[in-house]
Homo-oligomer: 159 residues x 2
Amino acid sequence: MHLGYDFQMIYYNYDQFKNDISRLGTLCESFKPDTIVAVARGGMTLAHALCMHLDVRNIQSIRCESYDGDEQRISLTIVGESTFLPSERILVVDDIVDSGQTLHALLPLLQSNNPDVVFKTASLFTKPTALVQPDFSLYEATDWIDFFWERDFLKSNLL
Amino acid sequence: MHLGYDFQMIYYNYDQFKNDISRLGTLCESFKPDTIVAVARGGMTLAHALCMHLDVRNIQSIRCESYDGDEQRISLTIVGESTFLPSERILVVDDIVDSGQTLHALLPLLQSNNPDVVFKTASLFTKPTALVQPDFSLYEATDWIDFFWERDFLKSNLL
């Protein structure tokens, strides 16, 4: 696939993911989350795997709809937010933190709605230029990451 | 693993899942869901994969907490329910429909809270004795299914 830019498309396969869950899980372990929140869609499979690794029963997803207004500001609508219990420890999980705009808008909103809750964030990949750097992350994203869940289930790849 | 019963433990691996998404996706395609709802935790990875296959952007999770009361009745608490738009078509997804008690309690509740919404259900495996038979399902579950997300990320399997 030629994108006309000087970066590579990296296919991130299931076997690599399986190994990485152990490493990312170890990083997150000391936080002892009560609930894992997946940022949909990208964070769903990762959140599920981390829940199994960390033995966290509570998992939920959150979906952020961003709209670019006239002034290029991000207006965020959260779909699926729950009220957390006071003093809960919540791990917010996304596959890649790219611009960081989602977490940058989402975290203050979650925190102000749930002032007694402790939020931390985890991702597999993070861009060094992201507005928010997650608390736990494995890789610096320099190339375009093609996660297996973005490729393996597409109709064109299954026929 | 010996459980003392006359059934087998079947390991359901990632490669089989990848192939099955195409087959289950084809079954669900005619329904044209607007939103996919994952029954957490088991349905999370499946819902993510189906979303990618069916090109559905809206995904959310729902978590059901069941309590056995004195009379062995199921009291269900839904965590993470959203309000759907009128006339939306919602596909509720779980990995396996075993006793069917979760869907049996969940579906009437979702339908009464969202009378104009069309709900259908999908799973990979279904027990013939389940209280609710999903609209779309691939396999009859006769053995104990050990899904890759229940095995591959456990600490004991990663060391």
